[in-house]
């Protein structure tokens, strides 16, 4: 590693008045509107903002790169004295991977599935930095050790599909460090991971960055995560800088209104409603089992939901929470057990259920883009359950659609005739809620309804759902992986792990220690808005214990 000797007092990366445009809908639109950024050697800078704020575009521009359909129209990017925007493509390529590296959000999509991990890892080192193969492999194994990967000597011999998501993300971080770069750009590296896995990856990334003294730009929409990683935070919105400050100062005293609203987003809480006594549950699942082919996914799942209440089902990916929803709706046939509705068993196959049974249980999906037919107008989408179940026609139908639109806080005159693609993500999710409400249901299953949305938008959806519940008395089965959401709206909580219910109870008792083992692990893995949180939690769990509970 012969790094050029440079004046260590000058900043590593200086971006001045950067302008980037993107091409869509037959025109160029500004994405980044004149951002300044300075990064010192060894410093970790956090970039925060909602989707569309220009974080990723800015992160890539720091490598002198733009995605297809984007172009840099002004400003400069100085990396260690070189203007990356004026550098020849060949020189730029030599710089990337050796002195500037990038860690993408989805490691699974970024690795080539046809090659062994270690071969992909050392590729840049061997071709660009001119290091021998044996030495590069030895360095790779050392990095795997630093990043606390299991079996560091042999894990590189595996293919990408043979390691877990969290491990793959750490291997990608190791790969970015292969040439000990001066700058690493982390683009939402833990967003796709479960909280208990995220904590490991965060710890590993932070240790490695500190150990090798790399500077880093850490991009995330999750403030609590950035608070653990960054020395300094920049808040972006609509391609402009909103606020910039040291992490502690930013957390303690944000100055701008927008930043304050981001900080306040997790303060929404409903008042937990007590379970009605001596009443039959609206929905009860009794000792249900189910499987996909030969693979069992649910084991003896039992839960009950009372009228007007919110039951939150929380668990990590693969815990069987969505399968439970599919079981209740009749899409996934139960191999044993029962689903009771007001005490009467429901047919396990939705095709055998009556129209009335189908009407009472409605569903809202995780990704509103695919949940709405792109070829139908809003009035058709919301109107169909009205005409299908309730037989409304003509003016009565339109009036009811207008009522529903008003209820979900969208202007009926403006939205009635629009198509889904003309709506934002949050508006689409509101339309999905209206479609569910149109059937006048008693139970709405919300499957990760806020996961695909920005935090501010998600909060609006939660508030809307709460208001609707108070007005109409519907029950929610709320499926989520997000502890904060459960804390905000649940009346009762069910914790799932590997297809089993491992813990259940009212919100208060679930969130009051002592916790069951897994519940405790899950809750304590949720990042807090405190820069000390990661250290504290790692201390608590101790060096000797595994960070994740083993099965």
């Amino acid at each position: 590693m012969n790094k050029p000797l440079v004046n260590s007092a000058s900043p590593l990366l200086t971006i001045r008045d950067l302008q980037i445009e993107g091409h869509y809908e037959d025109a160029w639109h500004p994405l980044v509107k004149g951002i300044d950024l300075t990064l010192q050697r060894g410093e970790v800078l956090g970039l925060i903002g909602e989707s569309g704020a220009g974080k990723s575009t800015l992160g890539l521009a720091a490598m002198g790169y733009t995605r297809d359909g984007c172009r840099i129209t002004g400003g400069s990017v100085q990396f260690d004295g070189m203007n990356l925007l004026k550098l020849a493509p060949d020189d730029l390529r030599k710089l990337r991977g050796t002195r500037i590296a990038y860690v993408a959000q989805s490691a699974a999509a970024s690795f080539n599935p046809a090659h062994r991990l270690i071969d992909q890892h050392i590729e840049t080192a061997v071709t660009n930095a001119g290091i021998g193969r044996a030495q590069a492999e030895a360095e790779a194994i050392e990095l795997y050790r630093v990043l606390r990967l299991p079996n560091p000597e042999t894990i590189g011999q595996r293919y990408p599909h043979q390691v877990s998501g969290g491990q793959l993300q750490r291997i990608m971080t190791a790969m970015a460090m292969a040439c000990y770069p001066d700058l690493i750009i982390f683009d939402e590296p833990t967003t796709a991971l479960d909280v208990t896995t995220q904590i490991e990856v965060l710890a590993a990334i932070r240790d490695a960055v500190k150990r090798y003294g790399s500077a880093a730009i850490y991009i995330s929409h999750d403030l609590a995560v950035v608070a653990q990683m960054a020395d300094r935070i920049m808040v972006l919105r609509h391609g402009k800088l909103v606020e910039e400050a040291e992490t502690r100062k930013m957390l303690a005293a944000p100055e701008e209104e927008y930043t304050k609203s981001l900080w306040a987003v997790r303060c929404f809480r409903t008042e937990p409603k007590p379970r009605p006594r001596s009443e039959l549950p609206l929905l009860e699942v009794r000792k249900a089992c189910a499987s996909y082919g030969q693979q069992p996914v649910l084991h003896d799942v039992s839960l009950s939901l009372y009228r007007g209440q919110t039951l939150a089902v929380i668990g990590e990916s693969g815990s069987g929470k969505s399968s439970t929803a599919r079981l209740i709706t009749g899409l996934l046939p139960a191999t044993a057990g029962q689903v009771l509705y007001e005490g009467n068993p429901l047919p396990i196959d939705f095709r055998k259920r009556s129209k009335e049974q189908l009407r009472r249980i409605q569903m809202i999906y995780q990704i509103p883009d695919t949940a709405l037919n792109p070829r139908q107008r809003i009035v058709d989408i919301i109107g169909r359950p009205l005409s299908f179940y309730l037989g409304l026609k003509g003016k009565a139908l339109r009036d009811r659609v207008a009522d529903l639109l008003a209820m979900i806080e969208l202007d009926p005159d403006k939205f009635m005739e629009r198509q889904p693609r003309e709506l934002s993500g949050g508006q689409k999710q509101r339309i999905c809620i209206a479609r569910a409400l149109a059937a006048d249901p008693q139970l709405i299953i919300c499957d990760e309804v806020t996961s695909a949305l920005d935090q501010l938008v998600a909060e609006g959806i939660l508030k809307l759902l709460d208001r609707v519940q108070q007005q109409l008395g519907v029950s929610y089965l709320f499926i989520t992986h997000d502890v904060a959401t459960v804390r905000a709206i649940a009346d009762e909580v069910v914790v799932m792990q590997r297809g089993r219910v491992v813990d259940h109870g009212p919100r208060k008792s679930i969130f009051t220690p002592p916790h069951q083992d897994y519940t405790g692990l899950l809750f304590s893995s949720e990042p807090e808005m405190d820069p000390e949180w990661l250290d504290r939690i790692l201390d608590q769990r101790g060096a000797g214990q595994p960070l994740v509970a083993q099965p």
Binding site: L331, F350, L358, A371, N373, R375, F388, Y389
Partner: protein, 276 residues
Amino acid sequence: MKRLFIELIRAPLSAQFGMAVILLYILVALFAPVLAPFGETEVVGDGFAPWGGQFLLGTDNLGRDMFSRLVFGARNTLGIAFLTTVLAFLLGGTCGLVAAIKGGWVDQGLSRVVDILMAIPQLIFALLILSVVGTTATSLVLVIALLDATRVFRLARAVAMTVVVQDFVEAARLRGEGLWWLVTREVLPNAAAPLIAEFGLRFCFVFLFISALSFLGLGIQPPTADWGSMVRDNAVLITFGDVSPLLPALAVALITVSVNFVVDWMLHKSSGLKEC
């Protein structure tokens, strides 16, 4: 209406050319009796009369007016090809969408039948069946429609597959919607763009196929004017340096190219690709 007009103005030159030619063919086919100076099967002079004079493009081997037969040929060949394509799409498209939505044994059954039909080379299969059932226009249309329906089935099923896995189709199923609603309201509108483009291409293939069969003597039967058989009947003229037999071939080539131009443009629009 105004938007459609703007779209047409902004279309590339190749697509505009294609549409102009298609429009011309349709007009010729519709007004054939008005445009043609002589009847379709009328013997009006000596065989192989030269161009010019009384007969604009000369006469054929039996002394029928070449120009008139070309004009009527547009009507017969285009009409039969269009009818066949529509039938193929009704059959193949419906089956494909239903197979994708229903899945399970319905899908398996339909797909295997289509596999069997596709395993036999198309031309040989057509020759075989037509020589058994006889070469009436009806059997010609039915046989080619059946054969082409297999290709349409494959495309319709593949496109519908990507649509049926989306949540809005699941939502419609959970609502309790029937098969007809799922096909016509949920899946078909989202699968329409590639199917429309395929319609144009399929039309070309059917058209070529009919011409080929006619050339082989199993297509549209004489004395009905048809471009394929017109090439065959007058092929001998080529040896004398007369280009007349190439005119019907040229007519076939022109419509094929034109349809492809238009389809290219439509595919481009529906895929949302941008030149930049």
